[in-house]
Symmetry: C2
Subunit: 238 residues, 2 copies
């Protein structure tokens, strides 16, 4: 396969493993993976919605912005001693080399909510006002498009054989730490993190953060007003 | 109010507090409540569905059957040292006198699942076969018809201010114990409990089982075949 857009200079041959909604995944000769950030974003009816399960539109340059934002946060986490799958990046090609990692089940989304918006508010709106603070509440959903990514409890994950209680507690703690770091970085720029969606995997015995940390994975507000992901990337990286 | 059907002989005046889907609730002069079991059952399109949120049909005598089954189990739980709201019953009037209890939030449904069927299977069918055994898995949902009784995690209940972690753990333990007792009683009659839905409330500092334990709150199978609630009541009480 000869494709200058997907072949990183130093890792030799890259073989396409699968095409994702917003990223393509290649396997490299050294056993690592290469993520190619695409300009496709999830949404419906032409409106960007990071929680949507379908690709709604294409925005030129968004893949590169997402990669740059991810690198920024992965570097911050490295300094804080939190393990991620990040190895290196090629900004010109919008690619990131990452460690291999085995996901839990068919993939779990881990959400940290610092304020009540989105599906949390839709579910529990009888008990909480929109935008009310939450003490870094963490919840997990199964990645299952056909079943609209169902919420799953700690006991559910254990009884379904997806993860152990110890792994759940470890991921919950890591998620709260990561959300705090992201929130602090945003606060420095006058913005507030309301919620963030993360993914984890196992690299050997270690649980590491995988996927990306970009504007498409979080809800951020400024002066109580929601910032669209594309504006967020631009505001954050400028 | 003079209504011979709802006024128990020994407690004097009973004042209607509210009309429920399957039971009316009266307050008694002694501070306790009187539950009048109705012949209305939940369901849709004329089909009995204990999980439904609307009254679908009326079945003569079902209220009395539900009361008799509840009394049976409440007596069993009393012997086992598990506190319930049950005080006494009047079979002729299909009424049960119960202790006052404050529900959690606007009411929580606590489900114990011993085999994967129903909404659990709909949510997690990608990871478990229909009817596969579960180790007395417990989950809680908010009673909120408008939001289709959403699932809520232990952390969610704590952060929404609905119950403490200690209360959650206590209710979970009690639910597993009660489900075991109900399952054992059914097993003696050649039937198997797949899941059961319970409700709890606080009587002072104590968490007690409230509502009822009847065929409408559980899924029971015999030789791998589901038993309709009305048949279940009849089979169980004969």
């Amino acid at each position: 396969m000869k494709n200058k857009n997907t072949r990183p200079a130093r890792t030799g041959k890259a073989v396409l493993l699968y095409e994702g909604k917003t990223k393509n995944v290649y396997i490299l000769e050294n056993g690592n993976y290469l993520l190619k950030f695409k300009d496709d974003v999830t949404g419906q009816n032409g409106v960007f919605d990071p929680g949507a399960n379908v690709v709604g539109l294409s925005i030129e340059g968004i893949g590169n912005l997402n990669l740059r934002m991810s690198i920024f946060f992965f570097e911050k986490l490295r300094v804080a001693g939190i393990q991620t799958h990040f190895v290196s990046a090629n900004l010109e090609n919008s690619t990131m080399e990452v460690l291999p990692a085995k996901v839990f089940g068919k993939g779990i989304e881990v959400i940290c909510r610092r304020r009540a918006v989105g599906s949390f508010l839709r579910r529990y709106g009888d008990f909480i006002e929109e935008g009310a603070p939450l003490p870094s509440y963490v919840e997990m959903t199964l990645k299952d498009d056909d079943r609209s990514d169902p919420l799953v409890t700690r006991d559910g994950l254990i009884d379904l054989g997806i993860m152990s209680g110890k792994q759940y507690d470890d991921i919950k703690k890591k998620t709260q730490e990561i959300a705090k770091i992201v929130a602090d970085c945003l606060l420095e720029k006058g913005m507030e993190l309301y919620d963030i969606k993360l993914e984890f995997g196992c690299n050997g015995d270690e649980i590491i953060l995988i996927d990306e940390i970009s504007s498409g994975n979080m809800r951020v507000y400024r002066d109580g007003k929601y910032i669209e992901p594309i504006s967020l990337s631009e505001l954050f990286l400028k």
